[in-house]
């Protein structure tokens, strides 16, 4: 009992512990709250949240690359695409229509890790020649990679299904599953459970499990010699090397782990949608994930997760609903004329809001970064760095003297 009390007390002042706790509680209660608030028709929202989990996974992975190791990766969606397509190839009928002529149906749980491994290998292959570059150059190379990969998938003909992509991917399966009142059904044990769009809560639960799993692993890495080496390389590469850190291989490791997480998320994404297409992996995905990491707090795992929640909420719930909400607001204020389009070019308030969606999004981002430049939930290091940024700018640039 006292032990429990000590544990609580020692974590009460730790913002990360509080964030983890709130996120865990929120994640567990979310489906129940949604179902209650919508009177049992909230399945769609739970599914939306499960999709948000995919972004969260990516943010956690990109945080390793950008936040821990300090490598700016602008083509992160490429690994997401590679994970998705790998899953699509090994878990559908598609390989049967390629010249290979034989389709594979690798079980979901194995295919998930195949997607992850293939993405990690792609990360290592891209990283090996490019991680000798510093800062800006690496950003440009990854940007190029992010543009190339979806194009390759679009143009690889029969192998990747071209523009329409690959559909009818295998859905995840489990030997069994509990259902209960939380999905509006009686308690029952369902053997040979198949995840379908009729049971989005199951996807949601699966997502929570996967995120928990990834967070534990990444957190372990952060608190190991590797996490320390990443921090050191980010701060002073020469000093790290002189103290025995193989800087190229440690950066390569960060890059591959980021890619692996992205590929993992991609494989799940393919399984959930049961469909992949090269249209879904554009630059905007890379930038959104990067914005999640920066806005949440670079270098801090719960920070990146929080950033993912906030941005996903804004992008996929707030903004899509904004036009309708504005329309309602206008009519409830008695300003119905705002809702009508007129011949002078006013298209109606809903249309105006819908057109300026990304302006609003941009303004929100700028606003958050002005209010909290260190991110919503920054790492201690970033906080310090920002505090001393002015001194750093005044100090002479560091260089080796002859």
């Amino acid at each position: 009992m006292t032990r429990a009390r000590d544990f609580v007390r020692s974590n009460l002042r730790n913002p990360n512990a509080i964030a983890y706790f709130l996120m865990a509680v929120g994640a567990l209660l979310f489906p129940a709250i949604v179902q209650f608030a919508t009177g049992g028709s909230g399945d769609y929202l739970v599914g939306l949240a499960a999709d948000g989990g995919i972004y969260m996974l990516m943010a956690i992975g990109l945080n390793v690359v950008v936040g821990f190791a300090g490598l700016l990766d602008l083509g992160y969606a490429a690994f997401f695409a590679i994970g998705s397509y790998t899953y699509a190839l090994v878990a559908s009928n598609h390989l049967g229509v390629t010249p290979l002529g034989h389709s594979l149906h690798v079980p979901f749980w194995i295919a998930l890790f195949i997607g992850m491994l293939v993405a990690a290998s792609a990360g290592a292959l891209l990283g090996a020649p490019t991680l000798r570059l510093r800062g800006d150059y690496l950003a440009i190379v990854t940007l190029g990679f992010g543009e190339i990969v979806p194009r390759v998938f679009r143009n690889a003909g029969i192998w990747t299904g071209g523009v329409p992509g690959i559909s009818a991917l295998d859905v995840p399966t489990l030997p069994g599953w509990f259902q209960g009142p939380w999905v509006g059904q009686d308690f029952a044990w369902v053997p040979d459970f198949r995840f379908t769009s009729a049971n989005l809560t199951a996807y949601y639960v699966l997502m929570i499990v996967l995120i928990t799993f990834v967070v534990i692993l990444v957190n372990n890495l952060y608190n190991s010699r590797l996490g320390r080496a990443w921090m050191a390389v980010r701060e002073d590469e020469t000093a790290a090397a002189a103290n025995g850190v193989n800087t190229v291989s440690i950066k390569l490791l960060a890059f591959s782990i980021g890619a692996a997480t992205s590929g993992f998320a991609g494989a799940f994404y393919g399984a959930k949608l049961s469909y992949v297409s090269s249209e879904n992996f554009g630059f905007i995905v890379s930038v959104t994930v990067l914005a999640m990491v920066v806005l949440g707090g670079m270098g801090n795992i719960p920070g990146a997760m929080l950033g993912a929640i906030v941005l996903y909420f804004i992008l996929f719930w707030l903004l899509p609903n904004a036009p309708a909400q504005m329309q309602q607001l206008a009519s409830s204020l008695g300003l119905d004329w705002l809702n009508q389009s007129n011949p002078n070019g006013w298209p109606g308030i809903a249309e105006v809001v819908s057109r300026s969606k990304y302006v609003i999004f941009g303004l929100i981002l700028v606003g958050i970064m002005l209010l909290r430049p260190q991110g919503l939930l920054p790492s201690q290091i970033r906080k310090q760095e920002l505090k001393h940024a002015e001194h750093e700018a005044l100090a002479a640039p560091r260089q080796l003297q002859a």
Binding site: S224, L226, R228, A232, T238, G244, N246, I381
Partner: protein, 257 residues
């Protein structure tokens, strides 16, 4: 008894930056178990020589042999692993890591945890982390910083930062420690403490090779000195001999007409 072979042998080392010859055909041997000093006026190429030995620069010509192993042009992490540690003239700590984490990082190349150990926090990894933490605290105690272990490196005083850098270098478990102007900016009292520390390091079986400007420190601490001027070796020998060498006096004071 056979004489102990030198720990480090530098032969015909040359480093050019474009047209500038920073180090010009320098050869010397660092005897095992002694304090060896490298002196010379500003811009003589001392730090460049250090950078060539530790692999931060690739020498244009010449050879670096450490404990009978050819280390010419090896990358810095490999020279560190081979047993050469160093500090920097313009302190290069990981400023936003704690003093303890700085020293822990120094253990990196001696730790044997693999990726899987780190991912899964295996008992082996936990045990190694505990050992590294204990050893890091020992080293911090050695340099008198054990009470400041959880301070950010950047918040330490100047002299403390210099000593922390030595502790971090010692954490790589070196056989040869290169100190680049370790007493720069020190008070006389701090210099005395530093000399004590150098003696302690020596007793641990680590050869010390230092660059220093303070003649008093150099004369007291070192058994042998090499003098560099404009990249060339102009003298080598025991302190007294070097001090009375005509070329050394000229290099430092200028040639009288």
């Amino acid at each position: 008894m056979d004489p102990i072979p030198p720990i480090l042998r530098v032969e015909g080392l040359t480093k050019r930056f474009g047209g500038l010859v920073a180090v010009d055909n320098v050869s010397f041997e660092v005897p095992t178990g002694e304090v060896f000093a490298l002196i010379g006026p500003n811009g003589a190429g001392k730090t460049t020589l250090f950078n060539c030995i530790t692999g931060i620069y690739k020498p244009t010509l010449g050879q670096v042999t450490f404990r009978d192993r050819d280390l010419t042009g090896s990358p810095p992490h490999r020279t560190a692993k081979a047993g050469i540690a160093r500090t920097f003239q313009n302190i290069r700590l990981f400023e936003y890591m704690s003093a303890l984490d700085n020293v822990k990082l120094g253990h990196h190349c001696r730790m044997r945890s693999k990726l899987w150990d780190s991912l899964l926090k295996t008992p082996f990894e936990r045990k190694e982390e505990v050992q590294v933490e204990e050893h890091s605290m020992e080293l911090l105690k050695l340099v008198g910083l054990d009470r400041l272990a959880d301070r950010y490196a950047r918040n330490l005083a100047y002299g403390q930062q210099r000593r922390l850098e030595i502790a971090r270098a010692l954490a790589t478990d070196p056989r040869l420690l290169l100190l680049d102007e370790p007493a720069a900016g020190f008070t006389p009292q701090e210099k005395v403490e530093l000399m004590d520390l150098v003696q302690t390091i020596l007793k641990r079986g680590i050869t010390v090779f230092l660059i220093e400007h303070d003649m008093k420190v150099v004369m007291q601490a070192s058994q042998r000195i090499v003098v560099l001027d404009h990249g060339e070796k102009i003298a080598e020998g025991p302190p007294l001999e070097v001090r009375n060498n005509q070329r050394v006096i000229e290099a430092y004071l200028g040639k009288s007409a």
